[in-house]
Symmetry: C3
Subunit: 658 residues, 3 copies
């Protein structure tokens, strides 16, 4: 295990540094992340490099036996750069970004890419072999704050080139999208507009899907570009980029991006800004497993909450013990390195309310002592298990094409969720809901990208919202079921192809035979609660209510809602197919219903489960030497887990013989 901190020596005086490092070490911190907003410090004028500042701090770190991860500073460029190239600025929904805040750069801009290559090359050459440097973070939270979509003229130009590369001829594009619709038949690629802000009807869904793909490709390419430089000049130092906190990232294909990096890191804020409550723990678990699952390997938390954070608004204050719990939660879910954000709280700037381990002064805080204690507590076990695979027989599977599709075509107002104007997280939240049912049953569950998973590693695959079908994935799923797997499908499965065309067959399209069911009718019920019954248990569902017509499937549950004409019609079916099983769930269930349903499926699949109430989580980890049962009390009160009494916010690790 590595414990580190995100450190900004440039925000303090050199006098502070030695003291800072001493206090860090006393706490158990041996590494820092540095420099990710340091472009203007390292290249104060075009081509005039000055690495002396970070040299000094790196030397001091090294002298103290500590290490550093360096961030490349491309998330915010210096003012002189935009003065020279005014069009390197992004634009979003009619608003141009600007210097003075961050993440302004247009990833399609050749000028910006050239400038990035120069600073990263210079930095890699200078620091690449410094003994303190143990790795690199490329950019910072790339794509965050809506910077994954760019409506600028430069972006439009690049989009047209991307389309030309993909479709070769404009006729092919017209036919593939179906531009005969509303008569928008283009005669050349330079007639294609940016699908941005609009007065009324939206742009063509196939166009928007491609626009998202274009941005994903562009951003991945930008990361690749930096990776090539770093691999050349900083041999042997592993590369990552810190994924931003919103969990499932609907534009950029993070699984694909990960393939150019050595390991995943992400920024874990269970509460941030004006949130009145932290996320429910199954949601945090889903985020951990999402990040773990991108490479199916141990991951780093590059920014682990250590205080109380927000820009101009704050909210929930973590209780004593809760920050420590969240840190351990990252580790037991698969992290092998934790960097706390941030070491000391900045006195100025937009983050002057982002409280870190220390406050604005240097007196040790309660948080300092709490985390110091936490590091000691977890270290006893962590080194035995953190490098091992997080074991699971169940996986929930997300899919980037569907994440993108549901973002622009949510169908139900219940699948629309925009806590900030630049994000539509309906898909993300719904995926977490399907994941949560397993989590509260204390079943170790992976959360994996459809494009990278090997289904046969699992007994049960949960694949909700898989409406846009990739043929190769479908074929693997078919094989998985034929060979005995249990596949759980959700509403709107198999409705459309990768071009965005609806199949000329009925939902679930290609899955119809294996699911033994057909869907001709559904209602988009938004956030209404529609009643149904699963065995003896009444429950409610929402968002989308499909009326299932079983062909070969057996009915597991039916609608019972008197207000709905489809009362009595099936909502859940199960079908045997070759050696396997397909469960089809035609609606979004409330959490308790998911749990009851999963219990039945787990029982049939002979996977053990427990339930200790809504605030206790249990996990199993396999170590090199021992196995571990881990009980987590997410509540501020004492809690029972079977016969065990857990203290508030306790993480209890019980080793077992292998």
């Amino acid at each position: 295990m590595i414990f580190g901190a995100d450190y900004y020596p440039e925000q303090w005086t050199q006098k502070d540094w030695e003291e800072d490092i001493r206090i860090m070490k006393e706490m158990g911190i041996s590494s820092v992340r540095l420099a990710e907003f340091g472009w203007a410090l390292m290249e104060p004028k075009e081509g005039k490099y000055d690495f002396s500042f970070f040299n000094k701090i790196l030397n001091l770190i090294h002298k103290n036996g500590m290490t550093a991860i360096l961030g490349t500073p491309t998330a915010t460029f210096p003012p002189w750069l935009v003065k020279k190239f005014p069009d390197i600025i992004q634009e979003r929904d009619g608003v141009k970004r600007t210097i003075g805040t961050r993440r302004q750069a247009c990833f399609s801009s050749p000028d910006y890419r050239k400038a990035s290559v120069k600073i990263v090359t210079a930095m890699a050459k200078h620091f690449g072999n410094h003994p303190a440097v143990i790795g690199w973070q490329i950019d910072n939270e790339i794509g965050h704050e809506g910077s994954d979509i760019d409506h600028s003229p430069v972006s439009l130009k690049a989009f047209r080139v991307w389309l030309k590369n993909k479709y070769k001829t404009i006729q092919n594009l017209n036919e593939t999208w179906g531009n005969v619709f509303w008569g928008v038949l283009y005669n050349s690629f330079d007639e294609i507009p940016i699908p941005g802000v609009h007065v009324a009807s939206n742009f063509h869904p196939s166009m928007i899907q491609d626009f998202y793909r274009f941005h994903s490709d562009t951003i991945i390419d930008f990361v690749k570009l930096q990776a090539q430089i770093l691999r050349k000049f900083s041999v042997g130092r592993p590369l990552t980029t810190n994924l931003y906190p919103s969990p499932f990232l609907p534009i950029i294909d993070m699984a694909e991006l990960a393939s150019y990096l050595d390991y995943i890191s992400w920024d874990n804020y269970p509460t941030w800004g004006e949130q009145e409550e932290p996320f429910p723990h199954p949601f945090i678990a889903a985020m951990q497993q999402y990040n773990r699952g991108l490479k199916n390997l141990p991951f780093t938390v590059m920014e682990q909450i250590s205080g109380f954070q927000g820009h101009d608004l704050l909210g929930y204050l973590p209780a004593p013990g809760q920050t420590k719990l969240w840190m351990k939660h990252s580790i037991v879910h698969g992290s092998n390195a934790i960097y706390f954000f941030r070491y000391r709280t900045a006195r100025f700037g937009q983050e002057q309310l982002c409280y870190g381990i220390l406050d604005h002064d240097k007196e040790k805080t309660e948080r300092y002592f709490e985390l110091q204690k936490g590091i000691k507590e977890i270290s006893e076990y962590a080194d035995d298990f953190v490098e091992e695979l997080f074991p699971a027989q169940v996986a929930v599977v997300h899919d980037i094409e569907n994440a993108r599709n549901w973002k622009h075509q949510p169908i139900s107002s219940g699948l629309k969720y925009s806590p900030v104007p630049w994000a539509q997280l309906g898909y993300d939240v719904e995926m977490a809901t399907w994941f949560s049912g397993m989590n509260v049953l204390n079943v170790n569950t992976h959360f994996r990208p459809a494009s990278k998973i090997d289904f046969k590693d699992y007994k049960i695959i949960i694949l909700p919202m898989y409406t846009m079908v990739t043929d190769s994935i479908f074929q693997k799923l078919e094989r998985f079921v034929k060979e005995g797997g249990t596949l759980i499908l959700g509403y709107r499965t198999g409705a459309k192809d990768l071009n965005g065309w609806m199949y000329d067959s009925q939902v679930p399209g290609p899955f119809s035979e294996m699911a033994g069911v057909k869907v001709r009718k559904f209602e988009a019920v938004g956030n209404q609660k529609v009643k149904f019954k699963f065995r003896f248990f009444p429950g409610t569902c929402s968002k989308i209510c499909e009326i299932l017509e079983p062909t070969t499937a057996e009915v597991w549950a039916r609608y019972t809602d008197k207000k709905k004409f489809y009362k009595g019609q099936p909502i859940i079916t199960a079908n045997s197919y070759h050696k396997g099983r397909v469960i089809y769930i035609g609606a979004s269930l409330e959490p308790l219903s998911f749990m009851l349903l999963y219990r039945r499926i787990l029982r049939e699949a002979k996977i053990p489960f427990t339930f200790y109430g809504p605030t206790v989580e249990k996990l199993n980890r396999t170590g090199r030497n021992q196995n571990y049962e881990i009980f987590i009390n997410h509540s501020g009160k004492k809690n029972l887990a079977g016969l065990k009494i857990l203290n508030p916010y306790e993480v209890r690790i019980t080793p077992k013989k292998k």
Copy 2:
């Protein structure tokens, strides 16, 4: 009766066509609407016409004994057009429209008008005498999606010309508007700005009123231009344009527009998009009567809901039988032709979730069989009555000048209703409320434009929200009352003249004598529920509460609300005037109160009424051979209408001897 479907052969292969037509015919469909989004297909490059595609399908239609209405394709132009003329694009509240969606065209643009003339002329010449073509739809839902307002520079230029034509001198404009207010005295027409987006205080109300008139004139002129061409080259084929679903259309003077067309058609969607419930049936009835009443003649539903529709969001799923009911509802309210939207559900494009008669495949759906049955059921009677006038002794009267005025000056937040940012439907919804009281009392009621109605055709005229007075209409109303009519007026009657100036007398201004009442004080109560009592019946009112001061009128109802200082003051009065009667209602009543009040008025006017509860509607129609009582059960449960038991969603037609 004609039954037709909106058909998009361009979205399917030629192979599909013969099968499509066969299935349509089996269902009872004999006509299609075609081509309204086909500009790019017919003129793929400037001046290069290619009508072969629609030729083929028209020939096939003709061969099958069917007919077609052709849409002129000006609602969406081809990409090459805007590439050549970038300024033919509308702008709304700071957002430029763009190619890639629809309704972008600036109706003031000479370039756009020229291009439209060319394509419509070519189309009219080519198809004008085709034996399958039975008529034309000009443009498509003209003015929908906020395209009735255009803030572009080209629009501004045309607005200045329109103002110059109207006012001749800038002094005249300054005086007529009252520009001395806030000292905005223009020296020339080219100083006049576009009254668009603004930071705080709005533009001058008289200016906004003219801006709306200008747009109405411009759009009507555009329709006239097309009509002239079509009448020249397609002799004898009747013309229409399909009015868009939002009911009372506050910008364009549709009654005036209708005078250049042969019949009214409109698009009837009782539920659309994310609506959780369909509109209440009196509201749908109001929409039907609005469209019927524009020409007081039978009308076509050019798009009759046949499925489950929306762009990226869906909502309420029509129950079995409900789609059939809605179709019959159109017919019994005065439609003599129904085109279902749409025949088959598009596999691609923004309407891939606009479910039509068939789904994305070709298997016959429940909706297919339901509508097929409905066509047979209604045909037995429809041919006898659909060409006859819908009989009524009562009319609710709307007025375009007031629709516009209330849109920009709603006075009460309760009269502000913007389900989409580009529409303010407070006036529309309030008019429908005043209509509904008669509808639930099962009294055949017209809904007519003030500019075209002959008041003496009616016993009772209901004229709510008639705040801006047209002198000639006032004189007709005065004659109507003098000769024995009953006139029902609402709050804020007679407050201002057509220039937008408040009268220098008190509300109801010119109506004071006939109403026998004066209003010096009112409160704008928003959506508060304020108590009052009409006879023995307590009720509530909202939006605006006027305190009536009767001069000669008798008091029918008083406020009773303890929270209001005007408790005890009159809210409703009645005045005899010559042979007639004027009822003045100083507030917006809740539906039950409207019903109780209307009952008294109907009784006094000796007009029979019934009441079978809130979900049963009864109408009377006169046929050539027989008369008809029509009972409609709008609910999904059995319902009583007197002694009759109506099945869910049943429309029962009972013929009677004449």
Copy 3:
């Protein structure tokens, strides 16, 4: 006492004038305000002045023995001006202002300033010595409707100059703000952007604070410019500008602005537009005292509500007697001159729903008679006390730097309040809440700007939200406490310095010793109600909950909320310091709790208080000859004040011997 009216002769014919003046005089009105929107009338073309219109009316006024205050007309310029200088237009959040509405002018524009100098000079020369003119109002509601912030290019240019003047070198600016944060190190002043609309993260808080200061300086300078001209050409006529109704004005330093004027005037609308209820009376009292306190002298109400007002939306209708009460309320709180807005209701323009004393006709209204009566009633006493100081031993203190700071950094969503998009009034409303507790205890209380107050005039100083500390003010406060004063501080006191940097010590920073308390932890609870107990009284608090750590202070109240981990921790402390006392309140209390707490503090300070329920207000005034007890019944029902029975909306003035 002067009673006047805001009169717009340009909105009526000359025939009307004599009658208007006669009716005014009958009512008791002896003065008018004129011309503040008259630029286009006085300078219809550039350089062509025509003062004949206002000459005529001024002569008539003089002939009738009345007087006039003239407004300089710079709040709305004539169309020819912007035609000549298109860049004199403001811009806000991406929206350019425009001619056709008002307050469009960019105060930084040299062209606009030159044009303003010309018209004001011409006007001052022409009217400066007219015998009817008794004073000048500069501009109109300067800064209202969001015009205190300007994002135009001209504003940006001027901002850069202002920064250069302040910081001299760009290095100094970088260091003072802390631009090393996110690496935004500028190389020159012309790289600085406008901190306007942005996609995600906001601009640097120190930058925004300076941006607000820049606007304040610019607007004050504009007022100074006009004042110099008027003083030169209209000797002896006192100057004012009418402050707009929103109370505490977070951008412009109104106390500083006031120093260039002779007296304060403001516009008092206890209800306006779509408000459903008038402001609570302690809030109106806070507004009165805010305006009174800017110069600590009698003030004018330049626009006193006289009717029922709004632009396109209206709301609450004042009850009979309430308008009269509000007029008297202004006087007893310190006004010595009242101008009613407006004399007659305009028939046209954006204010045609701004009902004045008369309606659109000339018949005398109830309001006319009510105010006529009110003038008589108050005149009996007013002349004796209106020129005397409003006596008080308690002052609530606001601070312009903190008003600005909390506006852009509200910390808690409960301190964010934007009834209109261009204002964030969280600070204002919260200040009024702290004021209200004293007001309902019927303790005469001043409301004063920190920069101008002499603390030793008071026994108790209430200084909430004093987070950004001005050193000189801190020193005065320290002396005040040392010498025996009672200082009441609120949450987040002493967190940052004037550069916007957090202190490297803990809250309350420099106040820690005198408050005897330290704060390391707080929660931003938004609008949650968090329980606490003060003595035996349970109460709730909201917005921000600090956990106090007393060093020398005694604990007065503790949190009791079971949902909070800080249950049992202190929320209120009291500390003796030298001869004085410091009470520290770590949260925003509900009104009842404030009252209970203040009672204790008043008792200890030996200041008498009473409580007659939430709708009775009592004040004391000192006259030249007598003293007065003033009882105000703010409710529409009878009310008790001790043994006195007050009629609805009664203001009872009881003279007492001195």
